[in-house]
Assembly symmetry: C2
Homo-oligomer: 431 residues x 2
């Protein structure tokens, strides 16, 4: 008998099939046992009726411990009461390995305990659902960029110079040289966009930042598209289309997972392009008029400011045209105002904060040189990057989206640490 | 007029369109100029006929330097002589930026020079083609694993322990602790497979190895699938289906690129599952009978051995059941022979070497503990990994495919450094 996986059961209605599975939970009476089975692709109930199976099998089913692994044979039937819609009428069980004292029981556990047991915690219903949503966000990201003519380009992780200072960078010996772990592949992606037109990266990023908030990870994944011949406004359009595509893909393909997480999907259904835009100028006025007297023009936003602005909208909101003084050197100045740049941050709803930072890039050689000087940056470290502006420079734009914040938002997870399989935090390098 | 990209030109036959493009090359006479244009999505010829355009435009076309960027307007017409099949009858050119002394001219350049200029070298026809093939390998990989029910799981890059010794590991300070850059996410993927059934990773990997061969990179990308309830033989079937899928996808979707690289596609067309298998035992006999007296049972293969074996087959070949002494601790011993393990390496044709290493994993707690001891490894560092064998352990298998070797093979590139956008080599951390 060929073994199948739980997510394929609907195709085998009425058939007798074999599954490899673990026992997630069970309940039983003297006459019947209900086994909550999981195999990684889904959860399904196995029904063992005492009167219909050998005595020994019913005894095994009744006494089986949480997370025991097995091959299980049964008939696929409909089950209208469950969200999955199917169940398994069990005929045979072959226990592979009996689990003993699985540490994560259905009761409440402390965060540090769960994090120490992350390798096992991933098996629980909620964590499993978040990981499936993460997978769908990744899948939809590739689909979106492939369908829109982008090539995936992988910028290097190890770089030889630490242009913006080393305080938040991880450093390592690279044979006889020093190397640093990348905080962003953007500069490399700009070079790649001049070769391949529209490109995107999707890889790990490292910030040795001593932040301990629910939005920060030391190691996280970032998607960084970069587009030649694309200016500020078109850049925003790509971003809102991309984010809409990802959210709608999750709604379509992760129904069971969103339900398991008790996610209010009405808050996701209307996430469709276009997204609202507010200028930085207006955002400051809005904040000052709404009780925030701790911020003035020229200051960067903190989490409470971003949240207050985001709460005013039902969709993610672009905050555009930040002051030049609080943004990196590579952002293109506004053509009519030298005090702001052609950038936007995209703030997620429901307090999840900034999920995208993007901008048009400086494409003029002299201006870029001047901006490097103004930031006190070493031109030698940027020699190859500057040279791009000598060899057929073109207007170009790009952005970076943080995967874990996006997954946390869509899943409704409280903390980004639940949005990555093995989180790296300030005091967390295990497992 | 909406701008389009070169790869979309076939949809606009007979229309007047606008492109953003760079001048890759040109030739001209007194009456006509042929501009070889590129925009990252493709290459196309722009035709400027002196008698049909303003005098000024013809002068611009004739004098334009290599890599000058422009917006260019023209009519899309058929061109049966080119592989692309279309060309542009130029009507207007707006130069964006005039390139001066682009360093990479159509003449020959030395390797170090090209590598120093990798940020510009990527624009050349051959490098562009390899990057497009790399992109297609990536795209097809996601498609294959998504279609086959695998979830993408990202194992951590920074890990707190260096279980197999630190000699080939990059080390960094992680606040008050020491951390190491991952050489493989496999152990984490095993934990993930117990939670999600079938999983794959696809991320950067680091080996601080002082190798300087055409097959080695310091930083490279690896695909590591791991499958619960999957044993040795089924693991090989997934591998041969995956590799076949990727090769056939490139043949289908990168015709122009393979042609530009002058790749002999007849060597790729028959790359279809199943692949041949030869046992390690038989491989040693084969080598000894074919003039290799430098290898005996128990030794690992070097590149010349792998190449000699591979040359005997037209497809990639699995070498199976290596001696237990030359393979890692986590490989499952053969049920009937204690001297070999249930593993296989997949050797690519045409001298490209090993592209996959894989095995069934030890799933018995006591045996794994014993194997750790035999390898002199610290059980504390493996505590969470060992614990997987206490909590519903199941037979499971997985493998790792190296992206760059696979891309080099399919592209016919001479060296893996051309199969990654910004290679990291022994003496190469720039650009
Ligand atoms: Mg911000
Ligand atoms: Mg080998």
């Amino acid at each position: 008998m060929k073994k199948i996986m739980i997510h394929d059961m609907p195709k085998h209605l009425g058939e007798t099939v074999k599954l490899g599975a673990w026992l997630a939970n069970k309940r039983s009476s003297g006459k019947i046992a209900f086994l909550q089975l999981r195999d990684g692709t889904g959860f399904v109930q196995g029904v063992v009726v005492k009167a219909e199976v050998p005595e020994e099998l019913f005894a095994i089913a009744k006494s089986m411990t949480q997370e025991t692994s097995m091959y299980i044979i049964g008939e696929v039937t409909k089950d209208e009461r469950s969200s999955f819609g199917y169940e398994l009428q069990v005929k045979e069980i072959e226990v592979i390995h009996e689990a003993v004292d699985f540490p994560i029981t259905p009761k409440e556990h402390g965060t540090e305990f769960l994090m120490d047991n992350r390798h096992l915690w991933l098996r629980s219903r909620k964590q499993h659902a978040i990981m499936k949503i993460r997978n769908e966000v990744i899948r939809a990201t590739y689909e979106f960029f492939n369908d829109n003519g982008f090539a995936k380009v992988d910028p290097p992780i190890l770089t030889g110079s630490a242009p913006e200072g080393t305080s938040e960078l991880f450093q390592t010996k690279y044979f006889d040289e020093d190397a640093y772990l990348s905080q962003s592949g953007q500069l490399y992606m700009e070079a790649a966009a001049m070769a391949l037109g529209k490109v995107f990266s999707f890889g790990p990023t490292f910030r040795a930042e001593k932040s301990k908030t629910r939005r920060h990870l030391i190691e996280f994944w970032m998607i960084e598209p970069e587009m030649a011949f694309v200016e500020f406004e078109e850049n925003l359009e790509v971003q809102e289309q991309f984010v809409s595509y990802v959210v709608q893909s999750v709604l379509k393909n992760c129904k069971l997972e969103l339900e398991r997480l008790e996610r209010d999907v009405t808050k996701l259904e209307h996430i469709q392009a276009p997204f609202p835009r507010i200028s930085y100028d207006d955002a400051i006025i809005f904040l000052n008029e709404n009780g925030f007297d701790d911020i003035k023009w020229g200051d960067d936003f903190g989490s409470p400011h971003e949240t207050a602005i985001a709460e005013h909208y039902e969709k993610p909101v672009f905050i555009t045209h930040y002051p030049i003084g609080i943004k990196p050197f590579y952002m293109q100045p506004h053509p009519d105002r030298e005090d702001v740049v052609l950038c936007a941050d995209l703030i997620a709803p429901e307090g999840y904060g900034e999920i995208i930072g993007g901008s048009e890039r400086v494409h003029d050689y002299d201006l870029l040189k001047q901006r490097l000087d103004e930031h006190g940056l070493d031109q030698k470290a940027y020699a190859w990057y500057l040279e791009l502006r000598k060899q057929g420079s073109v207007p170009h734009s790009g952005f970076g989206l943080g995967l874990e914040r996006t997954v946390a938002w869509i899943s409704g997870a409280e903390h980004v640490r639940e949005a990555i399989p093995f989180p790296r935090l300030l005091n967390r390098l295990y497992p």
